[in-house]
């Protein structure tokens, strides 16, 4: 606070705070209050609203733990509530997608930040932005087409003799979520790339040279010097990709296999198909809470402090 006033003076600080307050209050908190309140009340016909059944309870939240169903985790048969299972799968595969986007975008970010001639950068970045002109739904659908049984991927692989007969990629080779993960990675890889690029770019080239000069192999330089420096960018990117993946509805709907389920689909079902906004809202808030906990845990695990992201 002190720091803010010192750095930006009163007028600007208040302007910043006003903007943020407008966002958080008028666009996030207040609009959701209605639904938040509703999430503690049962879904009732109008005639019964305000009636004796209309009381506050945690019932809607408790539905999360209903419906135990069998769950096969690496060959072990478990019983878990259906929603918990969906939630955990969503978190798990979002995490996988986050890791893959990181693996894909780190070299690219490094390339753009430290290898490429700065002059060709704008063109390259423009190229990277092109896919965004095509909406996520269409891009997901394009992957759907690529991965279909009669689709181009099978045609090519069978054509060159790598496969004997076509595979149902969408059903998954490793898990039922393969195609979803592919779609998520494709959709969000740039959200990982840009923050990492930004943080690597600010690394003094001499740091890299010093490390090399001291005898570090390229991977040692990356591991000990560049990655730690890029950590805030990686953390930003990971939070974004994870949240986007976990919050994605289109990709899992289009690319999901016949035994995949995404938590957003469950929420969507409550909100729209079942028309039960109360439970839908309860699930949304619960989901946000749980995901925040997951993100906080991950940050703690990777020793990323918020103060690293926000120095």
């Amino acid at each position: 606070m002190e720091d803010l006033f010192r750095r930006y003076g009163h007028t600007l600080t208040f302007a910043f705070m006003a903007l943020v307050a407008f966002w958080l209050l008028a666009l996030v908190i207040l609009p959701n209050l209605t639904l938040f309140e509703a999430s503690f009340r049962p879904y009732l016909p109008v005639t019964e609203i305000g009636g004796p059944k209309d009381t506050y309870s945690l019932d809607n939240y408790a539905k999360f733990l209903r419906n135990p169903s069998p769950w096969n985790v690496f060959g072990i048969e478990l019983q878990a509530p259906l929603n918990v299972k969906t939630f955990l799968s969503t978190i798990f595969y979002s995490t996988i997608a986050t890791f893959i986007t990181f693996a894909l975008s780190y070299p690219l970010a490094y390339y753009l930040a430290k290898v490429v001639q700065p002059k060709s950068l704008p063109t390259m970045i423009l190229l990277l932005f092109i896919p965004l002109w095509v909406s996520e739904a269409l891009r997901a659908f394009a992957w759907y087409i690529i991965l279909t049984f009669n689709g181009p991927l099978n045609a090519v692989l069978v054509g060159i003799g790598l496969l004997e007969k076509p595979i149902r990629w969408q059903q998954g080779v490793l898990t039922g979520y393969d195609a979803v993960v592919i779609g998520l990675v494709y959709s969000y890889v740039l959200f990982m790339m840009f923050p990492i690029y930004g943080s690597i770019q600010s690394l003094d080239r001499n740091q890299i040279e010093a490390s090399e000069d001291l005898g570090a192999k390229w991977w040692q330089t990356h591991w000990r010097v560049i990655l730690p420096h890029a950590k805030p960018g990686i953390a930003s990117g990971s939070v974004m990709v994870f949240m986007l993946s976990a919050g994605s509805l289109l990709v899992p709907s289009v690319l999901g296999s016949t035994n995949s389920n995404w938590f957003t689909q469950t929420i969507q079902q409550w909100m729209l198909e079942s028309q039960d906004w109360n439970t839908g809202a309860a699930y949304s808030f619960l989901y946000i809470l749980l995901c925040t906990v997951v993100v906080a845990l991950a940050m703690w695990l990777f020793k990323v402090k918020l103060s690293d992201i926000a120095k």
């Binding site: 016909p45 005639t47 259906l82 759907y144 969408q170 909100m271 028309q275 906004w277």
Partner: protein, 339 residues
């Protein structure tokens, strides 16, 4: 008369705006403000907001859903005297359907068109029993494309037809206890047979691609899917248990401002011209007498090929589904999906 009407309906049927509404405006002078929505879930959500904010007069849900809408306090009844109930084909606005359109004697729902969800089969590859049955969907030799909750209903009806259920399947739609028992059985059986499902569909594109790109040989799909694939070696078939039939129509918002115009509008769709236009736009079936003659001949030929009189008689109309029921149904669909 004159004025306007705010109508919220299904998106993606351009002929409504191009043909039907202009004809209506020409006939009555009433302008149609059309809001397109992807599905009736979105319509319900919008209606719930509109009950406070206003802006909607008439919406177009299916017959099995308006009950839930009404219990949420969204609707008001039509004034039958301002409509032409005699215009409708038998069985659509009277009889059992007529009962389902009313609550406490008041008419809340008036039909606009109807259609089916039935078997789409690849002629060369599908393994069909004779006559075709819903059970073919669970034959491991077929690669099927379905949607989860319809699959469970199909399973239920198939088991019911074989006498393998403790109560009639229809009981599940009125008695929640029985519903749980029946759907548990259907779910268990469906999960056993799930291996042949190559894809779930939720919209026309996915259903279509399920066959063409993903190589499905059989599916439980809307009639439009069958229609779109009719030249590619696919047939639209009615199962011996009877095709699922949906029944779509108009409801009047409780806080509608243009009530007079709304009645005019609904009435117009019961004229041969209006009903034919509506059915043509949806590639579905008309609700008015005399409308069949005005239909696109290709469309009528297509339906006549699938539904002879027996098949028409056997149609299984989606029963009313209460809010509780739909919520429960959703949970079953979830279990089936993630099994």
């Amino acid at each position: 008369s004159s004025g306007e009407i705010n109508f919220t309906g299904w998106a993606g049927y351009p002929k409504l705006s191009e043909v039907v509404f202009p004809a209506f405006t020409a006939a009555t002078g009433i302008k149609v403000n059309f809001t397109e929505l992807p599905d009736q879930d979105a319509m319900f959500a919008q209606a719930k907001v509109a009950i406070e904010a206003g802006g909607i007069d008439v919406i177009e849900p299916t017959i099995d859903r308006w009950g839930g809408w009404n219990s949420n306090g969204l609707l008001q009844p039509f004034d039958e005297s301002k409509l032409a109930m005699a215009n409708y084909l038998p069985g659509l606005a009277d009889g059992a359907a007529g009962e389902r359109s009313r609550k406490d004697g008041a008419l809340y729902y008036v039909p606009s068109n109807w259609g089916t969800e039935s078997l789409v089969a690849k002629e060369s590859d599908a393994k069909l029993s004779t006559p075709p049955s819903l059970g073919d969907l669970f034959n491991p030799d077929n690669q099927v494309v379905v949607r989860p909750h319809s699959t469970l209903a199909a399973m239920g009806r198939w088991l019911d037809a074989q006498g393998k259920l403790p109560f009639p399947w229809m009981d599940g739609y009125t008695d929640m206890d029985k519903m749980v028992q029946l759907w548990d059985i259907a779910l268990a059986e469906a999960i056993k047979a799930k291996g042949n499902v190559v894809q779930f569909w939720s919209g026309e594109n996915e259903a279509n691609a399920g066959f063409t790109a993903n190589g499905a040989t059989l599916g439980l799909n809307w009639d439009s899917t069958g229609y779109n694939l009719r030249k590619d070696g696919y047939k639209y078939l009615a199962p011996v248990e009877g095709a699922f039939a949906w029944h779509q129509g108009f409801v009047l918002m409780k806080n509608a401002v243009n009530v007079e115009q709304a009645h005019e509008f609904v009435k117009f769709v019961s004229t041969p011209e209006g009903a034919a236009g509506w059915a043509t736009a949806f590639s579905s079936n008309p609700v008015a007498k005399g409308a069949g003659d005005l239909l696109d001949p290709e469309v009528s030929a297509y339906y006549n090929g699938t539904f002879n009189d027996d098949a028409l008689k056997a149609l299984w109309w989606w029963p009313d589904q209460s809010a509780d029921f739909i919520a429960k149904r959703g949970e079953y669909a979830d279990k089936y999906k993630s099994a």
